[in-house]
Symmetry: D2
């Protein structure tokens, strides 16, 4: 397993643990805005993982595509789509 | 448990289930951009839960605060903070 | 003109001046990512103005609506809509 | 002037015209949330222009960088930075 993949997995599992805590907060009737704050922290953590994956994607897949001269427009369209959905 | 709280809990647990699938995708070496797409779907689902909580918060806490004439500025500042972090 | 309105107008005009500079950057063929960075700064400045307007809105319109007991659900729905579009 | 640059300029000028209208709305005391809605529309239009510029950037600069084997990591870091600020 690559270093990048290990890092991605590790961070995603931390985000999942964080989300478990947010669910507990709801179950325990914690203050609404404290719950939203923690939920936004999970979203933000996942966005950072997305960046890590995208970075790796640009350095590997997109690079290979450009080097081989194949499917560049498709690869660029995919990256733009990630950006657009954000 | 209020209807709103049940709905919030239900949706958060669905988001957690979805996140479990994303973690599996990483473990199984799925295509980077498919992983990002599903991760963004989880973020988007959590944002919708935040909206639901905020809606309830405005209808209950902020309303009580305004009706009692107490702590209005603090309540408004808290809502703006949620908006700012988004 | 209220202090809040003056502040909103002032900041919006600064954002417009900033946008004029971004347009010049495009005309002068500046580096793509420098243009995006400045364009994102304009977007961010406008978002901050939105927060200022929303803050004022919650302190005045929503407050009046709650005090008069009229149209609270509509006011809350409007605020959620602003949050949703963000 | 390239087709892409013309399109970018055209859209940015439309966004500027739209922002002028938003400023008029503030001056004329229009309803707060209508102003925010239009301001958010300007932000969204600018984000779409950013996507257009980024798309072109990936197809030209990043491609050249990868083809020449020079500065790939820097180019990827710049794109991630655009994504991060969003």
């Amino acid at each position: 397993m690559s270093e990048n993949k290990k890092k991605v997995l590790h961070r995603m599992k931390i985000a999942r643990g964080h989300l478990d805590k947010v669910i507990e907060m709801v179950e325990n009737g914690k203050y609404c805005l404290d719950i939203i704050q923690q939920s936004q922290a999970v979203e933000s953590a996942l966005e950072k993982v997305d960046q890590l994956i995208l970075e790796n994607h640009l350095k590997t897949c997109v690079r290979q595509s450009i080097e081989s001269g194949k499917g560049i427009d498709d690869k660029v369209a995919e990256v733009i789509e990630v950006f657009r959905r954000k």
